[in-house]
Each structure stands twice: as structure tokens, then as C-alpha cells.
Amino acid sequence: MPLPSGGPVSAELRRIQESYRDAAAGGHDVRDHIVGSIYRRAREVAGRAVSRDGSRGRLDWERRLDDVLTSRWAGIPVMLALLGVVFWITLAGANVPSELLGRLLFGFQEVLSGLFRAAGAPAWLHGVLVLGVYRCVAWVVAVMLPPMAIFFPLFTLLEDLGYLPRVAFNLDSLFRRAGAHGKQALTMSMGFGCNAAGVISCRIIESPRERLIAILTNTFVPCNGRFPTLIALAAVFFGGAGAAATAGTGATYASVAATGVVLGLIVLGVLMTLLVSRFLSRSVLRGEPSAFVLELPPYRVPQVGRVIVRSILDRTLFVLGRAVSVAAPAGALVWILANVTLGGQPVLLCLGRLLGPLGRLMGLDGFILTAFVLALPANEIVLPVLLMAYLGVGSLLQFEGLTALRSVLAAHGWTWLTAACAMLFSLMHFPCGTTLLTIFKETGSHRWTALAALLPTGVGVAACIAVAGLVRLVSHLLG
């Protein structure tokens, strides 16, 4: 028996519903009555099936753990320490694998070059595909893969343990006063691993308004892709690395000062998240705070093995996928810009000069800005692109060590102020390509995606101009 199609059915149903609405005296009471009846039944059934004996041992253990983890005095310090440990393990643990992976992949590049030579391929093809695409992909994979493969399993372990709701429980007050939702503490933490993953995790926030606030501010915390840049710059300019004969690439803190600077940036990032959230909730995303109803599940020992395997598999696939889809064309573009000339100069350098005035205003220079712009697809390539521009080389460079980095940057006029502004801008600029795509997919709106790109950039530019201007003014006044 075929049923009438959509329109007539709903009209008829609505008519029926209306006729009963008055009879049933309003949905509110009926719903309560229904829910009440269900719960009464549940109580009956449970009453007959459940029994308790006196042993509450396990319950006390869990409660005591929560007494510490969410207590008045120890709760937040323990939480910060725990998250700090996760970051430390991620950054320190990713060093050696990143280096090894880098050496492996760049080594393979030689093989590829050999193949191209043997096949008699034209130089430009070799340039675009090997020096451009492959090199960029290799760089992104080598830098991104190890930290992600460590951070996400750790994060998932915390989640399976049941600890993450406690983080939201501890920090909700802060976020509520910023007009946002306590669960934003969680999405923000996720953003430390990868902003795109952080944006996806915003689904746990039910209210669309607060979800949007969380999405738009997620980029204010530095992700795994930006940490190496921040750490390298902090180590060189605030930690004195590369001044003496210090060997080793990658993320090794040269001194306590450098560590302090990076931590300071993280704190600044969190602060900006809260401030911008507040600003948004008072302007474009005005509205009432939604309900915060959060279940604090019992602690459960996570199945460590399974979590690690599943997490690594997922993460590995994600990074590789991203490297290919986003970094590959970026690599091609960058190579083309560096090797195609316009009026005698590679386009890359022309861009650098074009952005010069704005760059200098921000305490940077045109090349640094160009590097940031070209690193839209992947934050990891900021420094390599910058070095490429400075050294007038046609392909992405891997810096051999902090010493080399220091000398190149110093030779191009970098001071501690330049580094400070570069780090500020790295912290607060448009989200990377993958994140923007993810934001578009999650919000379905061009408008919000555009805002997601413009808002942090605006804040970053303003902050750099302010800091640069202030420092210059002070040093001018001081003589």
C-alpha cells in the first residue's frame, strides 16, 4: 500500500497534533509526565534487579583521586603539570624520530633526482616535482608526523581514562566569564596538537554559538606545526643557541630563558583565546550562555595497547593525507615562485619587496611576511621558505643547525625584536589551509571561514605593530 508523499502527510499529521494539543494541555506537562512514567518504571525494574553489598572500597579510591584532581588547591596546578608533561613528552620525544625521518626522506630525494636525470627529464620538471613537491611533502611529514604520533595517543589515553571532563570542570568558570563554554578548554587543548583536529573536536559543544566561538579562537594556541619554529627562534634569540659551538637541529631548548619564552607564548595564546572569545560573545556572537551539563565518568584504566595502535594509525594516515593533498601543491607553487623570474628577479623576491613596508611596520621584513603567506598550506614550512628567500636559493632549505640559522638570520638584519614579532605573528595569524578547510566543512559558511582567517591575522598584525612601535619608541627615547 503506497503512502501519500511528504507534503500531504505532514499537513495531516500537523492537523492531528493541533487537535490533541489543547486536549493534552500543552506539551510541557505531557513530556514531564511521559519522562516521569518512564523513570518510575525504570526505578521499579532496577529496584528488583539491583542489590548492593556493603563494600565501597573502589568508590572511595576514585573519589579520593577526584578529591586531588579537582580540589581547590591542587586541582589546577596538577592539571597544568599533567598537560605540561604531555607537551614535554611530545616535543622531546619527537626530536630524534623527526631527524631520522628527515634524513631518510631527504636521502631518498637523491634517488629520485637520479631517476629524473637518468630519464633525461627537463630541469624544470625535476625542479617542480622533486625540489618543489617532494621536498615540501618530505619536510612536512618529517616535522609533523612524530609529534602527532605521540601527542594524539597521549591525549586519547587521557580521554579514555576519563580525565578530560575534569579539565572542563576545573576551567569552566574562566570560559563562562569569557562568554564561552567550559568544554572549550578541551577543544583548545586539542588545538595544541593540531588546529584542524581541535576544530573538529568542537562538535562536543552543543550550542552553535559557543561552538563557533571555540572554532574561531582555536588557532590562538600554537599547534605542533608551529612549535618547531617558535622553539628554534626562542632558542637562537633568547637562549643564545648557535652563538657558541652547539650542535644539533630541532627542538632542544638552549636555556631556561628560551623555555620561559615559549611557555610565555603559550600562556599568551590561552589569554588571547579568552579575550577574543569574550570579544566575540559581546559582538558578532552575542547570546545567552548555554547550559553546562557535564557528566564526570568514573575513571577507567584505558586499554593502552589498543589506543596507541588505533591512534597512531589514524594520525599517521591523517598527516600523510594532508601532506600529499596540501603540502604537495604548496611545494610546487613555492618552487615556481622562487624560480620563475619577473623583470630579472624571482617572483618570490618581488613579493618580498612588495610586502616590505608592512613587514617593517610590524617589526619584521617583507620576506618574513611572504614566508608566512606562502606557509598558509602548512605552518611547518615558514622557516624553510624564509631561508630560501634570504639565500636566493631555488628550493626549500633544511637548516643544518641552530648555528647556521642564527648566522643567516643575523646576516639579514634580525634582532631580538624581529624574533619576538615573528613569534607573535606565528602565534596569531590565519589558520593553516587544512584548518580553514575543516572550518568550512564544519560551519558550512564562507562568512565564518573568512572571519576565522581575518580575525587572528588582524589581531596578530595589530599586536606586532604595537610591540614594534613601542620598543622602537622606548629605544628612541632612551637614546
Binding site: Y20, G27, R41, A42, V45, V50, R203
Partner: protein, 255 residues
């Protein structure tokens, strides 16, 4: 009502489709992972940004596609997740549904079980986390629970894999029609029951006989807006003739 609308990647004719529901934090994911291993496909529910996991589980020579519904506290459609779960169970008509309940807070979890049972009688209750319950000094009697609910109850410890074979056996039994649960659903008091009775009569020509008219009537009386759009959307489909595995031909579910 067909499953085609849901575009299940792992579904082929001959395979059973079983929905997996439950409150959050009941070990539903653990159960899902345990039963499906690596044969999992992750995607989204059609038109939504809510993740959907499908997995293939093979037991006793039968192939079962497990569809992991979003974890919800109820099916009263207050959120996209609840709407998805409810619509899938009601309109997607899986061959059977499993509700995972947490033995340590049974009373609250039964809320979802009772709501499921009102939609369809093909429900199996997976009583999970019995090890934790024991540690907390809580004991649940599966037989008493079975009697009280009118549904099959299987105690499990999903993380260890205990009870899973029995669970799948009962599930397949329900899907095949060999086991026919007779859920004891709540009665709502004379006045409401009278309303429901009257409403059900009017729904005869509008609602496919395979959907519980009592349940639809309840939603209408309650003032649920979404039920009308869901019915309209699904009523636009042509009905496949009855004849799936174990279809006994009795259209009136529950009530």
C-alpha cells in the same frame, strides 16, 4: 522502510544490520571495537557532521553490520545525535538493536532502554561493566532484569571480551525472529492512554504499519516537532514488501 537512505557502506543483501545504542561512557565503543576489529568504516550520517562508525562482525557464520549510533541519554530528539539515533532505529529498521547499559548506574540507563523498546521490540540489552559494578559492591540480576523489561539481557565485560559470544547469539536470534521479545513498556495513565488510542486510529492511513503507531501518537501528543518532518521524509519512500529475514508479518510493534 529501507536502509538505502542511509547508504551503509558495509551492507549487502544477506547481511544483518544491527544498531548499537547506549548512554555515553558505557563502554559502547569498546564493545564496538571488540566485535568488529579492523573491519570498520568511518563516515558521517547523511547530511550531518556527526561521525558514524560501521563495522563488520562475523559470528557463527553470519555476517552482521554493526552501526554505532551516537551515545545519547534518551531518544526524545532534543539534539542532532538523538534525532539521528531515533530516526535510524525507527525508520532505518535495523534487524535488531543493542542497547549498552552501565551496570553501575542501571536506573538511569534504563531510561534509554525503555524508550527503545517503545519504538521496536527487537532490542537486546547488553549489561556491560559488570566487573566495575562488582568492585563497587553492586550486583545486577540479569534474570530479574529480563523479566522486568521483557527483553533479553546479556551481562558482558566488553574490555575483556566476556559475554560477547552470548550477546551476538541472542542478537542474531532476535534479528532472525527466533527470539521474539515482548517488552513491558510503561503505561501512561488513563487520560494519556485514551488520547493515544484515539490518535493511533487516525494514523492508520498515514503511518506505515511497520512503525509503532502508539509511539508516533505519543510523540505527537508530547508536542515533538521533529516527528512530523521525519515521517514526511520517510513516508515519501516506496515501501519494500515484507520478506526480510525473520519477518513474521506482524506489523504492530509494541502497544
Amino acid at each position: 522502510m529501507s536502509l538505502d537512505r542511509y547508504h551503509l557502506r558495509l551492507f549487502t543483501p544477506g547481511r544483518l544490520v544491527v544498531a548499537l545504542a547506549g548512554n555515553p561512557n558505557t563502554g559502547k565503543s569498546t564493545l564496538f571495537n571488540r566485535l568488529t576489529g579492523l573491519r570498520v568504516h568511518t563516515g558521517n550520517w547523511p547530511g550531518k557532521t556527526v561521525v558514524r562508525n560501521e563495522g563488520l562482525c562475523v559470528r557463527g557464520g553470519r555476517e552482521v553490520v554493526l552501526v554505532d549510533l551516537p551515545g545519547t541519554y534518551s531518544l526524545l530528539a532534543s539534539s542532532p545525535e538523538e534525532l539521528i539515533a531515533r530516526d535510524f532505529v525507527c525508520f532505518g529498521r535495523p534487524h535488531a538493536s543493542v542497547v549498552v547499559v552501565d551496570a553501575t548506574c542501571l536506573e538511569r540507563n534504563l531510561n534509554l532502554v525503555l524508550q527503545m523498546a517503545e519504538i521496536t521490540p527487537r532490542v537486546v540489552v547488553c549489561l556491560n561493566l559488570v566487573d566495575e559494578a562488582r568492585r563497587k559492591g553492586i550486583q545486577v540480576d540479569p534474570a530479574a532484569l529480563e523479566e522486568g523489561l521483557g527483553l533479553p539481557v546479556v551481562p558482558t565485560v566488553a574490555r575483556d571480551g566476556a559475554g560477547l559470544d552470548v550477546l551476538m547469539e541472542r542478537v542474531i536470534g532476535v534479528a532472525d525472529g527466533r527470539i521474539q521479545p515482548a517488552p513491558r513498556i510503561p503505561a501512561y495513565g488513563c487520560y494519556l492512554e485514551a488520547c493515544i488510542e484515539g490518535l493511533s486510529g487516525q494514523l492508520k492511513d498515514l503511518v506505515d504499519g511497520q512503525i509503532s503507531r502508539r509511539w508516533v501518537a505519543l510523540r505527537l501528543v508530547e508536542g515533538d516537532e521533529t516527528i512530523i518532518s521525519s515521517l514526511a521524509a520517510f513516508a515519501a519512500l516506496r515501501l519494500p514488501p515484507p520478506g526480510r529475514t525473520g519477518e513474521t508479518g506482524d506489523p504492530e510493534a509494541g502497544g
